[in-house]
Symmetry: C2
Subunit: 328 residues, 2 copies
């Protein structure tokens, strides 16, 4: 088995060597840009970690499908950023801001096809199953984005609805990443499914952590401005939980804060401060951390009785911890 | 072998039975809409015609990939219509007009994934090759759309550039449709490649015919307004040919017409009449018909020495003729 650092190094080399056609340059430049601005590569890391539990052979039949996961993820970011009208991504201008909407639409489209091109290098005997898993996942990611947009127009979103949405938008692709690695390595069916469930729980924890850090993270370490979700009244885990748990007078205060203007820097800062105070008063911050812990336990529980040995379990535990000892 | 009318009936039944998930309805309604507003289904027809040269077994391993071709085509139409800001498609409102841009982006995305889901039903032993062909084709379709958009900003487009663009945007998917049918039927490699070349030439002829009909078609039979390309100064085959062949004084007249305003119905009619007169004076209409004929000969020539029997050749000739005895 490779060390985690070795896996990271392989992933870095793969993306450094990933090329797209030179022409038409207006079409393919945004793909190069999206790969170059980085990201945590958490889907590739889980894919290779799961694969490496069963195989040390790092050839293109795993490395290309591994890249497909990240390339697909980048495609969804390009299109989501148009739909959400986001200006920045990973500290850089989004594709539709750097170029324009039409470029972002079409380059996104060809990036999703590039993902399928990479995926098609999976071993032919397992390709039908890998393709079915990927298609099923990809549809769900779109469904999650649709629910997320639908939520913007709903005055109330329940925790169940929220969890369903992040399950589709975020968790299934992480689950798919782990399962695909195991499938391509030829792991037994039961283990592949257990790794899917493990990845799903990690994905849920990851998204709730993301929501937590958007309000309670350290802006320098987190790498983006704190409070963006509060400013935009985003139905994050924190807000959805508050809507459910705020009793009458706190509930009125919550509505007041949601109605606060955000036209100036001062107004935005005041709104963020007010909402943070309300969250802390309601214990939302510690509730979020408890929820994340609960998903960690679920992730680990999914692996029990799957037939994985102690060393394999340890690797998956390490992956999980590396992901959550993050402040960004 | 089935009669052409039987093939059409099978295709009609397949699309009538094609369903998408009920929820989220905002996501999947546009897919149902795009399939319901019809189209000539020329890609499915070529796919099944080519398949049927070698096999009579019409099961899901061919019928689902056949539908993938049309579903993918519809996805590209949804996104192209946003990029081109088109209001109408097949006489109906386009998706981004009927809903909005975000819906058109995301529903288009999930429609492309639906295409891959249908494609994954190809027989597993041929799936890797079918997937490679489809990916290669899909990328090229995006490249063609990019070139088409780039042309809008170029003052001059050469005939070679124009032919390359329609080759990518239109011809490769028709070529892929024929080849995929033959591949799934287990036809010899040489025949599959010949049918690809035949389909490519037909696709070229089809697009030039489309350009011809946009100016010289019968508006009632053609099903859309005549002269749309002239009004928008679209770099159609007719305009590109004229730019190349108009000698000095006609060239000046061409630039005058291109500069004519299109603010009112009267102005649009005057511009269309002026350009048609110029085209006829330059013999552009008959040149277009000759070019279409030349591609027909190329299509048929591609089949020679491929090993197809006379009856099989006849079927492909019939397909070609059915496509061009159209006025719409």
């Amino acid at each position: 088995m490779f060390q985690a650092a070795e896996i990271d190094k392989i992933i870095g080399q793969c993306f450094a060597a990933l090329t797209f056609k030179p022409f038409p340059e207006h079409l393919y430049d945004p793909l190069r840009y999206m790969i170059s601005i980085g990201g945590k590569r958490i889907r590739p890391r889980l894919c290779l970690t799961a694969y490496n539990l069963f195989s040390d052979r790092m050839d293109k039949s795993i490395l290309k499908p591994m890249m497909a996961l990240e390339v697909f993820h980048c495609f969804t970011l390009i299109h989501d950023d148009i739909m959400d009208n986001s200006d920045r991504r990973r500290g850089q201008p989004t594709v539709h801001k750097k170029w324009n909407n039409n470029t972002a639409i079409l380059s996104g489209d060809v990036m999703s096809i590039e993902a399928y091109t990479l995926l098609s290098e999976a071993p032919s005997e397992i390709l039908p199953e890998v393709l079915r898993l990927f298609n099923d996942t990809a549809s769900k990611v779109c469904e999650g984005q649709q629910l997320d947009m639908d939520f913007e127009k709903s005055s109330v979103v329940t925790l169940d609805e929220y969890l369903k949405m992040i399950g589709l938008k975020t968790a299934v692709l992480i689950a798919c990443s782990g399962k695909m690695g195991a499938l391509i390595a030829g792991a037994p069916r039961k283990v592949c499914d257990a790794i899917y469930d493990y990845g799903y729980a990690i994905g849920m924890a990851f998204q709730i952590m993301d929501d937590y850090l958007d309000t309670f993270g350290d802006p320098i370490i987190f790498g983006k401005n704190i409070g963006g979700d509060i400013v935009s009244n985003k139905k994050s885990w924190l807000l959805v939980y508050s809507m459910k748990n705020a009793a009458s007078e706190k509930s009125a205060r919550l509505q007041e804060i949601l109605a606060m203007p955000v036209g100036s820097d001062g107004e935005r800062a005041a709104k963020i401060a007010a909402m943070k105070e309300l969250y802390v008063g309601l214990g939302v911050d510690s509730a979020a951390l408890s929820e994340i812990e609960a998903y960690h336990r679920k992730a680990f529980a999914a692996l029990k009785d799957s037939g994985l040995g102690p060393q394999q379990m340890e690797r998956l535990k390490d992956y999980m911890e590396s992901l959550f000892n993050r402040k960004r």
